[in-house]
Symmetry: C2
Subunit: 334 residues, 2 copies
């Protein structure tokens, strides 16, 4: 197969499978299969950052063209290998090069405590895009927040706490004697607020709990009040944008603050749109870490999402300008 | 000292030292000194991401107020400790939590080869904001590019090659037998092009060399031609924006591409502005890694800069809309 034929094939596969990641996405899928096969679809999604349904559609087109076969996961056929070679992709030897942000062992006992305390937590409400981060992820987040000066002496606001980030903060800061100025949990789901309240009583930790629908206009008393925003919003551009915008309103105006936003691998256009939106709210990106968060379930995103850290300096923001429709995945036109 | 007095002090120090990072910046400086002291000013800059002259101005104000002393580096006075405690900052025990992207040992011999070959390279021309990345950084970049599917079979454009990224690519891809589609070096500085040419002859590696002033309108023949853009532009918002915009024009329109941009710790407003500009060119941020690059010298930025990886899907871009004045630091109004 010559190069232009190979490139055209990748291009056609992208078109026929309506893969938004396009030529580059198809190339990436085949490359990951070359580097490790057989590769289950969920692993392809994790390694490429392309959502599972999209990988699945592309795989179907690649199988139709006999470039991939399915033997305990995706495997390249001889034709597939030939295609990759003709666009220059051969490497199977160079070690992979990642950013693990590994949790130190000394945190393990805190994770065990967390697991015991969270045992009776409410089940995820998928209509609100809830899905639980694994325990390690909760502590990875807190260590990351602390590393970035976002725990000690801070007024912390958690927007949506189905992951029980507040509980991880309580355990972590108790263990190390960190003094938080105030810990504030905002959620629409009373079950979560009740659960956090019961745990905080057990631990003797003060938490402020607020039932709030983040789709509504933000109450004045919550504005201009917090140093740190932690959120893992619904995974639509509208949802991400909305939560970020509300977070920006909550940040203390005169000093600015820090936002930690978990967000999924969006389609390229959506990713650009999401960043365009939040930059316009005064979110200044400081670090973006692919695959930082891991979830129980969360099939579409192969159980992974990204972490973004932002410095937030307040510009003029008014939540009535923000979208309040189409926030949750289930409301989205698919 | 009570909390509000402490907070006011931080606020005043920020005002009096004209620190753009504000209250948060002063807090961060003191926190880093608490975590490790005595701390030389260059290390404070590296750990906080605030440029050296700005740290220096803030330190002067903190010394005036007897919060810091200088004993082989910045050290907290008792008053400084008291201030930090009153805003809740005490931790000196929790291990730091970083993303090292460590170079594997097996790359060492390539770095040695690189060091030998680059011995006679031209000195940095500071009027063009040249400053040399250390050898490890060059290989960290290449491993990172390869991890992200940006070497094999790619049309690669390097915009400004004073770091000799092209040489690192030649060594790395020869060592592993990677086939690059084409390696293209764009630079305004003939000395660099001549040097790269002499090395490429020595190694028997094909490189296309183009003398180009990136402040001028981009020639049609360079547009819509490359898969990968690698650049470490001049560290002004105008310079970063300009190079990114030209890079976006160079990316193949129908398939999109990948851009690797090294950029400094900008002041918060400038950082927001930089991201706003490049997002509008179709740069979709995928990963941002603080402190990825290290330089010989480069005092203002304490010898460090960040790495950004972007998916670039082409929107309508016309370089005549881009700023072409104030690109280099030396032209900037300070």
């Amino acid at each position: 197969m010559d190069r232009s034929e190979a490139e055209n094939t990748l291009y056609e596969v992208a078109l026929d499978s309506q893969l938004q990641e396009g030529y580059q996405g198809v190339r990436l899928i085949l490359r990951e299969v070359l580097r490790k096969s057989p590769l289950p679809i969920r692993d392809i999604s994790r390694r490429t950052g392309i959502p599972v349904p999209a990988v699945s559609a592309a795989r179907r087109e690649l199988e139709k063209r006999k470039l991939l076969t399915r033997i305990g996961g995706a495997t390249l056929s001889d034709a597939g290998l030939d295609l990759l070679n003709s666009i220059g992709i051969c490497d199977q030897n160079i070690p992979s090069f990642h950013s693990p942000y590994a949790i130190p062992d000394l945190i393990q006992e805190q994770i065990i405590e967390f697991d015991v305390l969270k045992e009776k937590r409410p089940d995820p409400d998928h209509s609100l895009d809830q899905s639980h981060a694994i325990s390690t992820t909760c502590f990875r987040r807190i260590m990351y927040c602390h590393e970035n000066d976002a725990i000690e002496g801070r007024d912390i606001a958690i927007l949506g706490d189905d992951d029980l980030t507040s509980l991880a903060i309580m355990i972590f800061s108790s263990r190390y004697g960190l003094k938080i100025k105030s810990l504030n949990v905002f959620d629409i789901d009373l079950r979560i607020l009740d659960f956090v309240e019961s745990i905080s009583r057990k631990l003797g930790f003060e938490v402020n709990l607020y039932q709030i629908d983040l789709k509504e206009k933000l109450q004045e008393s919550y504005k201009n009040s917090y140093d740190v925003i932690i959120s893992d919003p619904p995974y639509t551009v509208a949802g991400l944008t909305r939560f970020a915008g509300v977070g920006a309103e909550m940040i203390k105006e005169n000093v600015g603050g820090i936002a930690f936003l978990s967000y999924p691998n969006l389609r390229p256009v959506d990713n650009a749109l999401f960043f365009r939106n939040i930059v316009n709210f005064g979110f200044s990106p400081k670090e973006l870490i692919p695959g930082f968060n891991e979830y129980v379930g969360a099939q579409i995103h192969a159980g992974k999402s990204n972490m973004g850290r932002f410095f937030v300096s307040c510009l003029d923001i008014n939540s009535s300008d923000l979208p309040s429709e189409g926030i949750y995945t289930s409301q989205r036109d698919l």
